[in-house]
Amino acid sequence: MRLKLGVPSKGRLMEQTFDWFGARGVSLRRTGASREYAGAVEGVKGVDLVLLSASEIPRELAAGRIHLGVTGSDLVREHLADWAREVVELAPMGFGHADLIVAVPKAWVDVETLDDLDAVAAAFRARHGFRLRIATKYHRLLRDYLRAHGVADYQLVDSQGATEGTVKNLTAEAIADITSTGETLTANHLKILRDAPVHRSQATLFAARGAEWGDAREALAALSARLGVALPDGF
């Protein structure tokens, strides 16, 4: 059986992934016509390249349809319940850095921390008759984070894009989103809470615990030696 390596199919994340592997003597490239999602691996035997949307890679890993996958650590935590049972982090790759943060209007001079946000949520609910709304697409990560910090009286509203605009549009009072530079937040009159972020994400090489490994173990051993990645117990 050949080892299936899932990598992002387009954009900077794909290019940086190719560079990361290339710097370690494993060449990944797309093959065929420019719009065709096919790829090849050189420098190590028995490995097939599978080009996928970064957001589908967590699910494919959990289902065991790919053995290894490159995706953001935020996506794995968000899309997989109990993610550590499903996948193993083989290597943080040092690019694709982004923080999942909670932001509130800059005009809220009285709010700097989650401690403040919790107090404001209680007062907001008492005054407006509904729970303070936080717009995000990272429901699981955010809920776990707010529960761990004991924030109550909030509700999550789903926002799959342009999340920074929801406060101005009166569909949310606060937001939680990925940011790398914070420019979009500033432009939308928002500020980040001072607490540690919900999650510091980066592109990460994951291995699927539940995949059928069989002969692919040999390819894994060769690949990990080439990449200089230590394999955890059980692999």
Partner: protein, 353 residues
Amino acid sequence: MTGAEQLAADLLAKMQAAGAQPIAAQVLQPAETLLDLYGEDIRARAYVTQDPRLGEMMLRPDFTVPVVQAHMKGGAEPARYCYSGLVFRKQEGARAREYLQVGYELFAREDPARADAEVFALFSQLLEGRGLRAVTGDIGILKAAVEGLETSPARKSALMRHIWRPRRFRALLERMGGQGPLAEARAALVARLRAGETVDAPQIGLRSREEIAERVARLIADADTPPIPAAQVHALEQLLALKGPVPLALAELRAQDWAALAPALDRLEARLEALEAAGIDTATLPFEASFGRTNMEYYDGFVFGFIAPGRDLPPVATGGRYDALTAVLGQGRAIPAVGGVIRPEVLEALGCG
């Protein structure tokens, strides 16, 4: 009929024989009511689904809410209800996602101590001979202790709001005692606000300038409130850690001579007498002051559980008093209520079905 279903039927029949009227509840419950009660956390515990006309619905995570709603719509008083059916909870790992609950709920205005004792004694009798360990607690004592702190009403209500979140409660208590990272962050914020620091940003969103100004004023007033005395913080922490047989726990609490606790301790003593009268051996009955602070968010007085010692199993039974819940669901009306549930599958797993 499976073993657990047989157990459930037997338990339900015994509850009926004890005077309870069987009551049914829909599996699909409006999500909004449950979300308003439990907050967003319930989404991590209950299954949510969508109805094209009714909106978000939840597979019932428990019976208490629909039973209270049914009673508030016009039940006689006092009332005793029993029920049996599946509940649905998301779980990590291999634990059951859907399981039976057999429950008993008592709504009565008179003599709360006797009502508490009636429910506990019934559960004790239903579960007799199963080798279970009973635990009791009393959220009312914790509430009385918070109410009795020498501090502002705003701080008391902030603590009260988080009684069921022990970590957050501790962090707040530390801040209000003037200690720890939250106190430092707060002091820095207040210093900036006092200096009249302004920000160059438009007001956006529903939260108005007026609301922001009000909280700024509250923050400054709070900074002028003296810290909660260290001795009181310590006493409260001691109280939270208290464990022992009920009579000893009561004696220990009385010995602290904490005036604010007296009415709650009188209630505990009255319950102790009622339990004795109901045939419970209270001399060895365990009391844990923090029991019921997690996962039992609506209980606000007497709480109890029956646990299989040394087994990695969920509690066989849990219950307690939830007077405040009836007020929330009753839209202005309220009635004291106490009840509990038994999980027949857990009983069956004990191998004494």
